[in-house]
């Protein structure tokens, strides 16, 4: 317990470093592009339009307000995907720095996941635009949206620090993860309704893929304007904390050996 306190105090001491790293990532992302931060809004909007055109003409699913259904799912999944992909390279990519100065190593991973969060918050503007255009009924439940974002943030962070530590020893993970994320995306109800999954597999579909729960909760809040399933929210937080514990433990156990492999 005392140890945990020391670690948290360490994080507090390096909070300015965390801030500087996040600011760097966000600043550099669109530096020297003409539209700049506007891309954070334009990108999800345009991707959504392409998918709406493809899926409302080629493959038809009977989903009311398909644009909002799509953009809520893809934004949330995109956040997890970006955060974990960036986190994987956070230790190996900062090798030069880690070899020359002493800095708590997890700060880099935390910074990457946090900058993905900031990017996603920019992209929220795109969701708001689509919600307003399609005249979705907004209810007070929208105030619960940060809860879902916190769940996904903690889950991505746990997954991210696990992957960052593992990829120091197995670099192949960086490439394998790209494939895995694509597979995961198709296993998550982003552009199809959950109802196309046969009833008998649905239990596993929910339990083996935490993203299904997160995406459904987010849609309940934004699209259907209703209270998300409390049971699902509790399970979501549990999974997020388990991911965080496993990730932190793996990272903590292996971090002293990083320097020998980077």
């Amino acid at each position: 317990m005392n140890n945990l306190y020391i670690r948290l105090y360490g994080l507090y001491q390096y909070r300015d470093l965390l801030k500087q790293l996040v600011v760097r990532d966000v600043k550099l992302k669109y530096r020297r592009s003409i539209l700049g931060y506007l891309w954070s809004v334009l990108n999800p909007l345009m991707t959504m339009m392409v998918l709406v055109i493809v899926f409302s003409n080629l493959f038809r699913f009977d989903i009311p307000n398909f644009p909002v259904y799509l953009i809520t799912g893809s934004t949330l999944f995109g956040f997890m995907s970006e955060a974990t992909t960036m986190a994987i390279a956070s230790i190996t990519g900062n090798a030069a720095l880690l070899k020359k100065t002493y800095v708590p190593k997890y700060v880099f991973t935390l910074a990457r996941v946090t900058s993905s969060l900031v990017n996603m918050l920019f992209s929220m503007t795109a969701i708001i635009i689509v919600v307003l255009i399609t005249k979705v009924q907004i209810t007070p439940y929208i105030l619960l949206a940060p809860l879902v974002i916190v769940e996904v943030y903690l889950f991505s962070l746990g997954l991210g620090i696990f992957l960052a530590a593992a990829s120091v020893f197995f670099r192949d993970l960086q490439y394998l993860w790209g494939i895995f994320i694509t597979m995961w995306m198709y296993l998550t109800p982003i552009f199809y309704p959950i109802t196309i999954i046969p009833e008998k597999y649905r239990f596993w579909y929910y339990w083996l893929n935490p993203m299904t729960g997160y995406v459904s909760q987010f849609r309940d809040i934004v699209l259907h304007g209703q209270m998300p399933d409390v049971y699902s929210v509790c399970a979501g937080f549990m999974i997020a904390f388990i991911a965080l514990l496993v990730g932190a433990y793996t990272f903590y156990r292996s971090q002293d050996n990083f320097i020998l492999y980077i």
Binding site: Q13, Y14, D16, L17, K19, Q20, L21, R24, K27, L28, R31, A96, L97, L98, K99, K100, T101, Y102, V103, F169, F170, R171, D172, D256, I259, L260, Y261
Partner: protein, 248 residues
């Protein structure tokens, strides 16, 4: 004897590396090696049973040929490396100058990098804002502040790195052969600043191949060879012994 506070205590420290040639970086290689049963790591001891006690205000020089473990010892003291055996204890704030500007991001401007590098060294943003002018004055880079660091020459980047790192008066200053870049005037300026710090009671750990500099800045010295400590003593004695062995 000397009663001043011990600031660095290295006891029986050994650092082990796995040889780079046996480093496994990908799965394919790993499985092949497992199947062929030659997953034997060749051990390499970069430091062997080093004992070192440094008291407050002392200045130590480390000499030895390339690959003798000087930088490894400094990294061990900074906390970048952990000892495989033995213990390392340090008391006080350390400013490591292992490589100048290690925390610089080439895409960011000098102004942004000063804040980033300061944060890497553990300073708060407020503190950096207060000392910003001081840093820029020392580095003499006023007209290049809003230029990305990637366009800087190595000497210019080193100037900036040195200014950021030595802006505070750290209790322990660790300097690893960094002053080779930078023009003569700047080198003199850096030396002057280090001497000022020493006069103020900072403990200095210094690695250089310039024996003259070691003699000038340090009172004590350690001679390392193949990861072992061959000799410790006053810098004049150790440097002379080292030079004699080299010129034979």
């Amino acid at each position: 004897m000397d009663n001043s506070k011990v600031v660095i205590e290295v006891q029986n420290a050994t650092v082990r590396f796995n040889m780079a040639c046996e480093r496994i970086c990908n799965l394919k290689e790993y499985f092949i090696k497992v199947l062929r049963r030659d997953l034997l790591f060749q051990e390499f001891l970069a430091l062997k049973n080093i004992d070192l006690t440094i008291r407050e205000g002392e200045s130590w020089g480390f000499v030895g040929v390339n690959g003798s473990g000087k930088s490894t010892l400094l990294k061990l003291i900074c906390g970048i490396l952990k000892p495989y055996k033995g213990t390392v204890k340090t008391y006080g704030q350390i400013a490591p100058l292992i490589e100048l500007g290690a925390g610089f991001d080439g895409e960011l401007t000098a102004r942004e990098n000063i804040f980033l590098n300061g944060a890497v060294l553990g300073h708060s943003e407020k503190f950096m804002r207060e000392h910003f002018d001081e840093i820029v004055d020392f580095a003499e880079l006023h007209s290049f502040l809003d230029m990305p660091i990637k366009n800087y020459s190595s000497g210019m980047a080193a100037r900036l790195g040195f200014s950021v790192a030595t802006m505070v008066r750290p209790e322990i200053l660790i300097v690893d052969e960094i002053l080779a870049v930078g023009d003569y005037a700047f080198q003199q300026k850096c030396q002057k600043r280090m001497q000022e710090m020493l006069a103020d009671g900072t403990t200095l750990l210094f690695v250089s191949h310039s024996i003259e500099e070691v003699k000038k800045l340090c009172n004590n010295a350690m001679w390392l060879s193949h990861g072992e400590s061959l000799m410790t003593g006053t810098s004049n004695e150790v440097c002379d012994a080292y030079m004699n062995s080299q010129t034979k």
